[in-house]
Amino acid sequence: MNKYLSFLLIILFTFTNNITFAGDDGKLKLNGSESNGYIEVSDCFEKVNRGVFGFNQVLDKAIFRPLAKGYRMFPQPIRSGTSNALSNLGNVVTIPNNFLQGQFKDAGINSARFIINSTLGIAGIFDVASYYGLQKRDKEDYGQTLGVWGAGPGCYFVLPVLGPTTIRDSLGSLVNLVGGDAWYNVTVVNDTQYFSEADYYVSRLMSGIDFRAKNLESFDSLENSSVDLYASVRSLYLQDRYRKVRNIDKTTETLSDDDWEELDNQ
């Protein structure tokens, strides 16, 4: 039973990054056909997904949202420190993915940031590296790396608790469990005298709460103004992943004028 629970918790918290919840993304039609600058992704099990999404919404309102609101009551320096420490920990996944995507400069900068912030920055609580001119880089994960290597997103689906994902992103997250996440390795796999499994689960849970707390108003606003929240979240998630896989920072690179053009010509 403990093993089952353990496995479940691992799955849940490993995907914490996807806890963009039932709150953030959307669009679809499978197999990599490019349309208006975006890959169309199929929502293969939409009816089931909508059910799971509804369940996640209930869970969010009952647990995650109140937790995030409570977390918001802590003073700003405590929240910033927590956020910095979690972000620093995320480097152990970002750095190998920088290498796998051929981003050697970013890999160097992230490695230096990790070393400096873990030591001088006291376990990453203070972002000392930024003072030395080593600015924070974007996070990378194995799902993004698979995308960079040419893997299409596959079906879009919604996981209980964890929220929106695709086949590719789920497979990417599983890599964390088979050695791709050094933090997972030192806590859960090779339980050391310094860290315990609980450290891992707490860190994943805190990442989710920190993310939720930063987006309380955005989610509320989206919910209030949406006429099909599920579809909005799906759209936002897929747009976000599209940008991240392509490492696009500039808006102009994500825009396609095709639809607008057609409109103008009508």
Binding site: Q76, V227, D228, S232, D259
Partner: protein, 196 residues
């Protein structure tokens, strides 16, 4: 010969005129951001703020254009009557959604940082919503339709790289698609939203 001379002078003057009065997209954003900030930070009752915010949107946003864009492929299959009904509904939906999103902000600070002309029709204005103790800094890009340089209009907001127009389009298309392509399902949903 005189006719050609006058024509050249006339065209030249028109050109100067349009250059003088063409509105810079960044100025448009600065103007509306300042105006909205002043409304939101005022002591006016919420209803009054909503009316004023809606007036800004009516003036500076291409609501009809966005409405037709968000219909996606279905805009080709609707008749004139449905189009007219949709435009009315969308306008009301847009304004309600727009003002209810904004009215919760007391004093948003948005700074325009740069702009990039994509082509003759579009310019992207890049801005930043300053961080507060509650949330981090947010990048907001504005897609400005500049076909008529004298009257640039906002057609999309891209928040942290996510297009709101695109999201809206996929939301509407999902509703129509899940109702066997029946546009009336969207009308019904919008009507329900409006009376909420």
């Amino acid at each position: 010969m005189n006719f050609i001379k006058y024509l050249i002078i006339f065209l030249f003057l028109i050109n100067i005129n349009s250059t003088l009065f063409a509105k810079d997209p960044s100025s448009l954003i600065n103007e509306i951001v300042d105006e909205a900030a002043s409304i939101l930070s005022s002591e006016d009752p919420v209803e009054s703020k909503i009316i004023k915010l809606n007036a800004i949107a009516e003036r500076s946003v291409d609501i009809n254009g966005i409405g037709m864009y968000t219909l996606g492929k279905y805009r080709k299959s609707i008749n004139e009557e449905q189009k007219s009904k949709y435009q009315k509904l969308f306008r009301s939906y847009f304004l309600k959604s727009f003002s209810s999103r904004l009215v919760d902000y007391t004093n948003p600070r948005i700074n325009v940082v740069s702009q990039k002309k994509i082509n003759d029709k579009y310019t992207i204005v890049n801005s930043v919503l300053e961080a507060t103790s509650k949330r981090p800094q947010v990048k907001i890009d504005w897609r400005i339709y500049t076909k008529n340089p004298d009257r640039p209009l906002i057609r999309d907001l891209i928040v942290e790289g996510l297009s709101l127009a695109r999201t809206q389009k996929e939301e509407f298309n999902s509703i129509i698609q899940n109702n066997d392509g029946d546009i009336n399902a969207l009308f019904k949903t919008l009507e329900e939203f409006l009376i909420k």
